[in-house]
């Protein structure tokens, strides 16, 4: 028995790798800013991240390849234009040829149209591929979230997981939707410009390229300092946001202590640091922009000057005229050359924040705090392994122990069993282990020692889904999702058997309540069921359990105060619910307790007493106390 406990404990530990916990549990924006220093060359780490993206991009390969194939075409169409301008000018100034002029003009028009159409196709295909793969990624993140253990959700705020599925995938998608991904196309354009310039006049080209090394150095210097400013901004903004969020959450304290002014002053200080960092970034950004623009114009000046030098070397005026077209073409090429360089920093920013988001998303996907996939789960059809409820002993807990933390047992060596069709009530004070018992039965948590048998089968040997299919659960907090009543009863957005819905609603005595609403069983349910009363929500949950029609009923009665009319309905419904089923009920109503065949009294994680209502009352121990506490003293 001790050994069993040990091995069970180790598997439990193995299910929660300690390494996964800190990275995936608390990646607040601030934490990620700290994790990822912008100083380090992003390449190596980002390559790893890009690799994780590959499976999502792969199914979109036709679109991606299509888009990539279009890149050189649209680049060519764009870059041909200055070349054709030169030809047009040459046809007038040098060749004096009408046909050459007409053909150059025609080609120019063609280039324009090709640029438009291919440019659109290229963007469309890339966006479609990008957005689709992001939707796939989102689906996988959601799926993964659905597989995380319940223990994970005990520790992790929902908001954090929500952020992974929504905002983080969005920022990653920004790389596509903002066109930053087209930075690849920019490289093609740059190479194309260089090619065309060299082809036109290599000497002029080399003169232009003289400006490049100093420009490169300047850009790199500015960018390095901009990156520092950017890191500062990120740190400050996350400081600002967490400060504000705390002030909003604790606003009553701030008000109660009259601390508005000092808090505002503190916030102002951080805010000002943020602004100063932004000033620096703006200055550098403006500098980068201006330097690039000015250098491009200086290149134009260089070209002009060198053209005059070259023209001086050739004597014939016809040849001199030939320089005009070239100069004009160069003027346009130079401008096309510098635009991508100028926009580089914007794209870099988008890519950086996308990569930071990717880190969080893939970190979450790598978090293995999940329920292991059972081998049989997906293979066998629904009804194949349904255990018979004919088995005389439907349920057995045998020396079961469990703790949410290893050193703090919530259930201690609990043993009990239930016959098929028996109605068992569980009672006990708060924290006695009632709800935990249900959770273990459904394998929402893994018990650490002992055995739980359902219809003679150890639940550890049953695939989770098969096991859970045997139970209809009605939890204490009724969970209704946005949709219709019918969808909520069927617990499915699509497969709704309306006749069955009506039937079960009438069996729990709620059909008239539902049909009073506009839309009847198709009446709207707002998020979290907020437009239905607590009693109505309870009844819908009961109907849901009946609709499910599983051999076991597990009911955690709500303690909420409900008006007496609804109370009567609920009492009747519970009877209906338990009929013909093995029922485990965490009971809070006297009527429910009395109707059960046997009562298990839990006390501090142990099964303290069991028997019928009368037997236990006579014994005059715990149950008698509890009974007086809950029902007697009022």
């Amino acid at each position: 028995m001790n050994d069993v406990a040990k091995t069970a404990a180790t598997t439990e530990d193995a299910a929660r790798p300690p390494a996964a916990a800190p990275t995936s549990v608390a990646p607040t924006p601030a934490a990620t800013a700290r994790e990822r220093s912008p100083d380090e060359p992003p390449t190596l780490r980002d390559l790893g991240l890009l690799k994780s993206l590959v499976p999502y991009l792969r199914p979109q390969w036709p679109m991606l390849v299509f888009s990539m194939c279009l890149v050189p075409i649209s680049s060519l169409a764009t870059l041909l234009q200055p070349y054709l301008v030169k030809h047009t000018l040459d046809s007038v100034l040098v060749q004096h040829s009408e046909t050459a002029w007409a053909s150059a003009m025609t080609w120019f028009t063609v280039a324009l149209f090709v640029e438009f159409i291919v440019g659109f196709g290229e963007t469309y295909a890339m966006q479609l591929a990008g957005q689709r793969s992001m939707a796939d990624l989102r689906r996988d993140v959601f799926r993964h979230a659905q597989r995380m253990t319940i223990g994970y959700y005990d520790r992790t705020p929902i908001g954090r997981v929500l952020t992974r599925v929504t905002n983080d995938v969005d920022s990653l998608g920004e790389i596509f939707s903002s066109g930053a991904v087209m930075a690849v196309a920019d490289i093609v354009t740059l190479l194309g410009v260089i090619g065309f310039m060299l082809a036109l006049d290599y000497r002029l080209s080399l003169i232009t390229f003289i400006a490049l090394p100093p420009l490169g150095i300047a850009v790199e210097m500015i960018r390095r300092r901009a990156r520092e400013a950017f890191r500062d901004i990120r740190a400050r903004i996350s400081e600002l946001n967490s400060y504000l969020s705390e002030q909003v959450q604790g606003v009553q304290i701030v008000q109660a202590y009259g601390r508005e002014a000092p808090s505002a002053a503190e916030y102002r200080t951080i805010n000002d640091e943020h602004r100063q960092a932004n000033y620096r970034s703006i200055r550098l950004d403006a500098l980068l922009y201006s330097v690039v623009e000015s250098v491009s114009m200086i290149c134009v000046a260089l070209v002009l000057w060198y053209a005059s030098v070259r023209a001086g070397l050739v004597q014939s005026s016809a040849k001199q005229a030939a320089y005009i077209g070239t100069v004009v073409a160069f003027y346009q090429y130079i401008q096309r050359f510098f635009v991508p360089i100028r926009d580089l920093s914007t794209k870099y920013t988008v890519i950086q924040s996308g990569m930071a988001a990717a880190e969080r998303v893939f970190g979450f996907l790598a978090n293995q705090t999940v329920e292991p996939l059972d081998a049989l789960d997906n293979s066998a059809p629904t009804a194949a392994v349904t255990p018979t409820t004919q088995h005389a002993e439907a349920l057995r807990f045998s020396h079961v122990s469990f703790g949410y933390r290893p050193d703090d047992l919530v259930l201690k060596d609990v043993s009990w069993s239930a016959r098929a069709g028996e109605h068992v009530a569980i009672v006990g004070a708060t924290g006695a282990g009632k709800t935990t018992t249900i959770s273990l039965l459904l394998r929402l948590y893994e018990h650490t020692a002992g055995e739980i048998l359902v219809d003679g089968q150890n639940i550890r040997t049953l695939p989770r889904r098969k096991l859970r299919r045997l139970f209809s659960l009605v939890p204490q907090d009724v969970f209704l999702f946005a949709g219709t009543i019918a969808q909520n009863v069927a617990f499915s957005p699509t497969q709704v058997d309306e006749t069955k819905v009506r039937h079960v609603l009438s069996r729990v005595g709620a059909l008239d309540l539902v049909e009073r609403r506009p839309g009847g069983i198709h009446a709207r349910v707002e998020e979290r069921g907020s437009n239905w009363s607590a009693g109505e929500r309870q009844l819908v949950a009961f109907a849901r359990a009946l609709y499910r029609d599983a051999p076991f009923l597990v009911l955690d009665e709500a303690t909420a105060n409900i008006d007496s009319e609804t109370e009567a309905r609920l009492q009747a419904a519970v009877v209906e619910l338990m009929r013909g089923r093995t029922a485990i009920v965490i009971a809070h109503r006297l009527s429910t307790i009395r109707q059960s065949d046997r009562i298990l009294v839990f006390h501090r994680g142990q099964l303290a007493e069991q028997g019928t209502h009368e037997q236990l009352l006579q014994q005059g121990h715990l149950y008698a106390h509890l009974h007086r506490l809950q029902f007697g003293a009022e």
Partner: protein, 582 residues
């Protein structure tokens, strides 16, 4: 800014108008320099044609010079205008917090933290982009267009007409697409919002989904929302993808027209090559401002919508504010409540509550969950909007007292112990101007001792300098409550209202704390909201609430003897104790 004065964007931008004008002036110079370069190009090309090569080199030198000058002016102009955007953001941010500090529960129930934060982060960013980037680009476009058009007209009116011929088309396209862009981006935002609600729902119900094995259904629901978001987003993205090449195309039509007519004119000899080249350069230089037009439109629209969202916070009415003739409270510490009614969302929470708490006495408020105890406690301290003429402190209506001083006089310790992400010492010394001096440290230690948390703080990893709160060490529920209580005790209010501040503390510790409170709190009035009869019975008066009404009132012995709700609560707790002892 107590009253919600309407805040327009103008009121934030106006104070910076001097710098904005300066930035605009510099922008004009930048554009003038920028637009003179094609003119020089014209001279150079014409000189090249005529073989006056010296003049070409001269023009080249001038272009280089202008370019260098332009670099300087452009840097300054961009810096100036963008900085104004950041300044507006800075002030908006400060004002937002100042306003949030004034707002009460009715606002925060309407606008959850997440929503407030999203407005303070995302919407504020959009506003800043509109003010800095949007303004710069609009003004820049205006300057670029007017200067280029003027120069082009000077060169050749006919060719100018050709060059601007596609413009009306462009404006039309921009307007059509702009409208579409707006509606599509809204649709996309909505789809994302719906997706987010779906995920939120699935995660909130994760236990039930798991128990029902309904993962597949949830995934189907999610996938529906996911595909919808994809579709809506593609709608937007396609439009954007379409806009860009279209703008490029239309803008290039100008180049085509100029090239077509211009070369013809050059052949006829009615136009010099240089002029044509300059023209082409001008048309080219207008390409970017033109193409950016659609983008700027989107920036402006988004910025406007965002500012309205931010304004909802800035103009929200505080529940509680100082009345005009507010007085300072007297310091005796007697509370009188008279016919207090309070309703929330149309539902009465408290009805006709009256009691008298003489100075230096104690009162316990007991009752079931939902009976209105906490609301009553909050109304006494004017944490909630106390109705006028129902709560009196030393004979003065609390709504007629200066809020800040009232809150100093009437301390309030909450059940939900919220601690800030600061050190324990700073949290306890929250009411102090500083926590570093020896005197302050003494007071903090004293308060912690009274709240029975001193020893535990000493044992923390960094002792009193341990950072707690959301981003610090997680204290247990009971520790948090006691730290929060110490914080309330430190300011030594004349009246201390405690809203069940010890619910997570075990009964023994509670008794110890109450003992020390009684000793330390001589001369102070207490109101204690509690579920524990053991704590309530220490008070001189006990008020029993049920469904918002006072059902019983008196001291412990009297109430027990009455055999009503109090007596039954008391019996119940005795049973619970017995049960616990088993």
């Amino acid at each position: 800014m107590t009253a919600a004065a309407p805040r327009t964007l103008g009121s934030y931008v106006r104070p910076h108008s001097a710098r904005l004008w300066q930035g605009m002036g510099l922008l004009l110079i930048t554009n003038a320099l920028d637009k003179s370069i094609p003119w020089l190009l014209k001279d150079a090309v014409d000189a090249l044609v005529s073989g006056a090569l010296g003049r070409v080199a001269g023009s080249a030198a001038l272009v280089g010079l202008l370019a260098a000058g332009m670099g300087v002016v452009r840097t300054v102009s961009r810096t100036t205008v963008f900085n104004v955007g950041r300044d507006v953001e800075f002030e908006l941010r400060n004002d937002l917090l100042a306003r949030l500090h004034q707002l009460g529960p009715s606002f925060f129930q309407r606008m959850p933290t997440g929503d407030t934060m999203s407005r303070a982060i995302n919407d504020l960013a959009q506003v800043r982009v509109m003010v800095g980037f949007g303004l710069l680009n609009i003004v820049n476009s205006v300057f670029a267009y007017s200067l280029a058009l003027a120069l082009m007209l000077a060169l050749s009116p006919e060719l100018t007409l050709w060059a601007v011929a596609p413009l009306p088309l462009l404006v039309l396209v921009a307007r059509l697409l702009g409208k579409q862009m707006f509606s599509r981006s809204q649709a996309s935002q909505e789809a994302l919002g719906a997706l987010s609600s779906r995920v939120q729902e699935a995660l909130a119900g994760v236990r039930l989904v798991r128990a029902f094995g309904a993962e597949a259904q949830q995934e189907a629901l999610f996938e529906e929302a996911n595909q919808n978001a994809l579709q809506k987003n593609m709608g937007l993205v396609v439009l954007r993808g379409f806009t860009w090449p279209l703008m490029v195309g239309v803008a290039s039509l100008g180049t085509l027209a100029v090239l077509f007519r211009g070369t013809a004119a050059v052949r006829n000899g009615t136009l010099t090559v240089g002029t044509l080249v300059a023209f082409l350069a001008y048309v080219e230089s207008l390409k970017w401002p033109t193409m950016g037009l659609g983008y700027i439109m989107a920036v402006l629209q988004r910025g406007r919508a965002s500012f309205n969202r931010v304004r909802e916070i800035l103009e929200a009415e505080p529940d509680i504010s100082d009345s005009k003739c507010a007085r300072s409270p007297r310091q005796a510490g007697a509370l009188r409540v008279q016919g207090l009614n309070y309703a929330y969302a149309g539902r009465p929470v408290l009805q006709d509550v009256s009691f008298d708490l003489p100075a230096q006495s104690s009162l316990a408020i007991v009752g079931r969950t939902g009976s209105g105890k906490s609301t009553l406690a909050a109304l006494l301290a004017r944490i909630l909007p106390t109705p006028a003429g129902s709560v009196f402190l030393d004979g003065d209506d609390v709504t007629q007292l200066k809020l800040r001083e009232l809150r100093k006089t009437v301390g309030f310790a909450q059940q939900e112990a919220f601690l800030f992400s600061q050190t324990v010492a700073q949290n306890i010394g929250y009411a102090l101007p500083e926590t570093a001096s020896e005197h302050a440290r003494q007071r903090i230690r004293q308060a912690a001792r009274a709240a029975s948390v001193e020893d535990e703080i000493d044992e923390l990893s960094d002792g009193w300098q341990t950072v707690v709160g959301e981003r610090g060490v997680q204290l247990s529920g009971g520790q948090k409550q006691r730290v929060a209580l110490a914080r309330a005790l430190l300011s030594e209010p004349r009246v201390l209202i405690m809203d069940d501040p010890l619910s997570a503390v075990d009964a023994k510790t509670e008794a110890r704390i109450l003992d020390s409170l009684e000793q330390a709190g001589k001369g102070r009035s207490f109101v204690l909201v509690t579920n524990r009869i053991a704590a309530a019975q220490r008070c001189e008066q006990i008020l029993v609430l049920d469904a918002g009404k006072v059902v019983e009132q008196g001291d412990h012995a009297t109430l027990l003897a009455r055999g009503g709700l109090y007596a039954s609560l008391s019996a119940r707790q005795r049973l619970e104790e017995e049960l616990g002892a088993l």
